[in-house]
């Protein structure tokens, strides 16, 4: 789950890190009112789940309330890499002497947490890593031990921050690590972490990705779930708990298992078609799950055929078959369906399906053959036929 910058800052503030006062605004008038309350100068910052906001014109300095009106009008509704700006964060402007970079994430190779700190902040860390890798001080942290203050101090020393910034940075990094662990974050990043001319270290930006698997111990994360960027199809699928990713093609895909679903999308592409989606109905899929999956795909106007690819392990064939039969009774499916079914109780599943076979519901013995038929059907079937 990706947080907006302002949500990230509120998340950080909850762990005692210094962030600037600010307010969220959904309209120009709200932005102006926020600036009047905060007192100018302020920054007007687009809140989107995409990088490169500054370059796209989504971050502006406003010296006066009139400037706020101008900038908020320009930024609200702006398209940044396919994300339309629906809210702006109005924040008290800060004086900047220096810009640093700090982050924690999981190093999957080392299977330890990785902290990165650099005096070259304010630019993309990937660029620094490529052009000047020595400018990034790294620390690997054993999740059992955590990060001690002395380790943190040596790490900050290795990064070469000026003396005046050391204490403030150590304090923020220790809190950032606590937020990362206790908050079950996949990634926390402050870029830039700034040193003010007065010698204060301060969080100026926040990028936070939370682990969706941890919501059972963070009830408040439900609010973040609601602000994820999803298209209409993804929202509908998410509502009924399906693992769905929208794609650009015309073959609707339902598969059980993430690997099989990915593979199904790949095979459709190999035989010359394109999948409309990735959809993993997962283990333990029941009638409702299958019916829901079919409904979500059926509502996608780009879909012209549907490929259901099931290999039974945790999902039993007759459960899948019953789901398909019941879904067909519940909704009128607009597109022809090709099914490939194998594994646990596949024969029982086939027996349930057999009476329903027709031109718009057929079975293919292999994944490749099913993909070919499904792609072939997109060429012969008109939408809604």
């Amino acid at each position: 789950m990706d947080l907006f910058e302002y949500q990230g800052k509120q998340f950080f503030a909850g762990y005692g890190m210094p962030v600037s006062p600010g307010e969220i605004a959904f309209t120009v008038d709200e932005a102006v009112a926020a600036a009047e309350r905060l007192g100018t100068p302020v920054m007007v910052k687009a809140q989107v789940h995409a990088g490169g906001r500054g370059k796209a014109g989504g971050v502006k300095f406003a010296a006066t309330v009139d400037d706020v009106r101008t900038h908020a009008s320009a930024i609200l509704g702006l398209d940044i890499k396919g994300h339309v700006v629906g809210r702006v964060w109005i924040e008290k402007a800060s004086d900047i002497a220096e810009e640093y970079y700090a982050s924690f994430t999981l190093d999957r190779s080392e299977k330890k947490h990785l902290g990165m700190l650099s005096v070259e902040g304010g630019v993309e860390i990937e660029t620094v890593a490529e052009e000047n890798p020595d400018a990034i001080a790294k620390v690997w942290i054993d999740p059992v031990d955590g990060l001690s203050e002395s380790e943190c101090r040596s790490w900050v020393a290795a990064a070469g921050l000026p003396d005046v910034a050391v204490d403030g940075t150590v304090d923020i990094l220790l809190k950032l690590y606590t937020a990362y662990v206790e908050g079950d974050a996949d990634m926390v990043e402050i870029n830039p972490l700034i040193l003010t001319p007065e010698g204060q270290v301060h969080v100026l930006d926040a990028k936070v990705t939370l682990d969706a698997n941890s919501v059972f111990r963070h009830e408040d994360y439900a609010a973040f779930d609601e602000t994820q960027s999803r298209d209409e199809r993804e929202t509908a699928a998410h509502k009924i708990g399906l693992q769905y990713v929208g794609l650009d093609g015309s073959v609707g895909v339902i598969a059980n298992g993430a690997g099989l679903a990915m593979s199904t999308v790949d095979v459709i592409s190999q035989v010359g078609g394109a999948a409309a989606n990735f959809l993993d109905i997962g283990g333990g899929a029941d009638v409702d799950t299958m019916a829901g999956a079919l409904e979500v795909i059926n509502n996608d106007p780009a879909v012209r055929s549907i490929f259901i690819n099931i290999f039974g392990g945790i999902t039993r064939g007759e459960v899948v078959a019953n789901g398909i039969v019941e879904a067909l009774e519940r909704v009128t499916i607009n597109s022809p369906i090709v099914i490939r079914l194998d594994g646990t109780n596949a024969d029982e599943g086939r027996l349930i399906l057999e009476p329903h076979f027709s031109g718009s519901l057929q079975m293919a013995p292999t994944m490749l053959e099913a993909a070919e038929r499904a792609v072939g059907l997109t060429a012969t079937e008109g939408t809604g036929a």
Partner: protein, 294 residues
């Protein structure tokens, strides 16, 4: 021969009294796995279809001589269940549950590595392990695997693992052991752990490896194959068409910042001498040709 588990493996099921635990525990027993115990602190002294329930893994080990555990416990309880299994004295732990927080995984992985270095964890979020004809721990449908050899299988994806077993069986090719390492960011058992074990196993003559997008496990495996393996490897990597920045179902399956793409993984494997198929069927055919040439 097989790797990690065989007919002598005695398994305790943590969560045998739950619906999933019971369903798969009994299926595993029907397959021939020695399912010797279950645990549930509130149901100690009861039984599940004749399988005795103990309050803890330690008690189950003491009473039944269990050597492995299989965890069918909801995600919030998996961290404690893994530690309980290691402290209880089993040497092989299979964690099937999906949805375990990554921080929990990182914590118990490092905890085991430090305090229980001889304990092997498989998973979480994995289908388990099957040594066909000998032992099946987890959720794999046993009938889709042909016992014998000469192929060992290691895979990050559940259903693609079944797919591989099935493709090989269709071709009359047996499997020594099939290990599903799971699709999470911190798998307890890595590709390399399995490749090294298959290289040592005299009955395994070739290895099928199934990867997917995200992380760098396939690249690391490729380096291991190049430097340490004499046995031929065929491979398939899922997610060629996956868009960047989107998790494809598995928590670990994400292309981010241009890293973790299927193309890069396939290149790394090819340059290590691995035969790479563009779909599961093609990988199966490549493996059949390898087996024919053995």
């Amino acid at each position: 021969m097989s790797i990690f588990v065989d007919e002598t493996t005695r398994v305790v099921y943590q969560g045998l009294t739950g619906s999933q635990g019971r369903y798969y525990g009994l299926l595993n027993r029907d397959y021939g796995t020695q399912v010797v115990a279950g645990t549930n602190p509130r149901k100690a002294g009861e039984d599940v279809d004749g399988i005795p329930i103990f309050a803890s893994v330690a008690e189950a080990v003491a009473e039944t001589g269990a050597t492995a555990s299989c965890i069918f416990i909801p995600a919030p309880g998996v961290h404690d269940a893994v530690i309980e299994a290691a402290e209880g004295g089993v040497k092989f732990i299979v964690s099937v549950t999906e949805g375990v927080p990554a921080h929990d995984e990182a914590r118990f992985y490092n905890h085991l590595r430090r305090d229980f270095p001889d304990v092997q964890l498989l998973g979480p979020n994995c289908p388990g392990i099957i040594s066909p004809g000998r032992c099946n721990i987890g959720i794999t449908a046993g009938h889709i695997a042909l016992p014998g050899g000469p192929v060992g299988i290691v895979s990050r994806s559940g259903t693609l693992t079944y797919q591989a077993l099935y493709e090989l069986k269709q071709k009359g090719i047996g499997c020594t052991t099939c290990v599903g390492i799971g699709g999470d960011p911190v798998p307890g058992t890595s590709f390399i752990d399995c490749l090294a074990a298959f290289e040592e196993d005299p009955e395994t003559k070739a290895v099928m490896m199934i990867g997917e997008i995200g992380g760098s496990a396939e690249e690391e495996a490729a380096a291991f194959i190049r430097d340490h393996m004499t046995k031929p490897v065929a491979s398939y990597v899922a997610g060629v068409t996956a868009p960047p920045g989107k998790k494809m179902g598995h928590a670990g399956a994400i292309v981010s910042g241009g890293r973790g793409t299927a193309a890069a993984k396939m290149d790394a494997l090819r340059s290590a001498g691995v035969q790479v198929g563009l779909n599961p069927t093609e990988a199966g055919e490549l493996m059949a040709r390898i087996v024919a040439g053995l």
